[in-house]
Amino acid sequence: MPGILFDPTMQGLAEALTLRQRRHEVLASNLANVETPGYRARELDFATALQDAFAGQETDDGAGLAPRVVEDPTAPARADGNPVDLDMQMAKLASNGTGYLALARILGHRIGLLRQAIEGTR
């Protein structure tokens, strides 16, 4: 959707928002299964997704940016075979959510700038 109004920055912001939402899904799933024996904590592979995005696959629609879900390598072991660490997951949930809010606000500001350009200063 590139064009005059929706420049690459806005497109990137929108993609980052979607990526944050996908990560939120994974973290919510981890929290839901915090007491499920045998459940393995998962994490979105942000770094690889980002590298893939930079590495080309110059598709305009960003189809190459597919987030991968991996088992969380930092998860500690627990006796019931469930390595979900409540504190760590809550921290990740909070930081991911804050990142999402920040991105949403930046995107809002850019749209505000566009609106100002369209309407002029009054």
Binding site: A14, E25, A32, T36, Q89, L93, L101, L107, I111
Partner: protein, 151 residues
């Protein structure tokens, strides 16, 4: 996958933890019950949690995926209480010959409920419940922020 699906994941956990709290309350309430409809003393009950893939119907038609491929169906899991099982560990025998339920040797079989262990479970279940409430709140804040873009 939209906000409703994420809320469905958190809601499944809230329901499961609430059921666990029900069972713990029942265990604590019946810590000294020597008579049950099935006969014999009460036996401690336990819940079995099982993770499930999000129902196909619950997942949106991926129309929202826009520029990013959505997660695989295997990536996120809801949780369900599939069974409530009885704890088969031995009952607590207390010497009380005057009790109507005492056996020939004068021992009364009390439930195999350990109130301390139940309280610890109660706290763990409450914390897990609260964690999922936080997840719901975070989802709501994110959705509200998304709605406010450009407003």
């Amino acid at each position: 996958m939209d906000v409703n699906d994420i809320l469905a994941i958190s809601a499944s956990a809230l329901r499961a933890e609430r059921l666990r709290l029900d069972v713990i309350s029942s265990n604590l309430a019946n810590a000294n019950t020597t008579r049950t409809p099935e006969g014999g003393p009460y036996r401690r009950r336990n819940v079995v949690f099982e993770s499930h893939m999000l129902e196909a119907g619950a997942r949106s038609a991926e129309a929202d995926s826009g520029t990013l491929a959505s997660l695989s169906t295997d990536a996120v899991r809801t949780v369900e209480v599939t069974r409530v099982v009885e704890d088969t560990s031995p009952l607590r025998l207390v010497f009380d010959p005057g009790h109507p339920d005492a056996n020939a040797e004068g021992y009364v079989a009390y439930p195999n409920v350990n109130p301390v262990a139940e309280m610890v479970d109660l706290m763990a279940a409450t914390r897990a419940y609260e964690a999922n409430v936080q997840a719901v709140n975070a989802t709501k804040r994110m959705a509200e922020a998304a709605l406010a873009i450009g407003a």
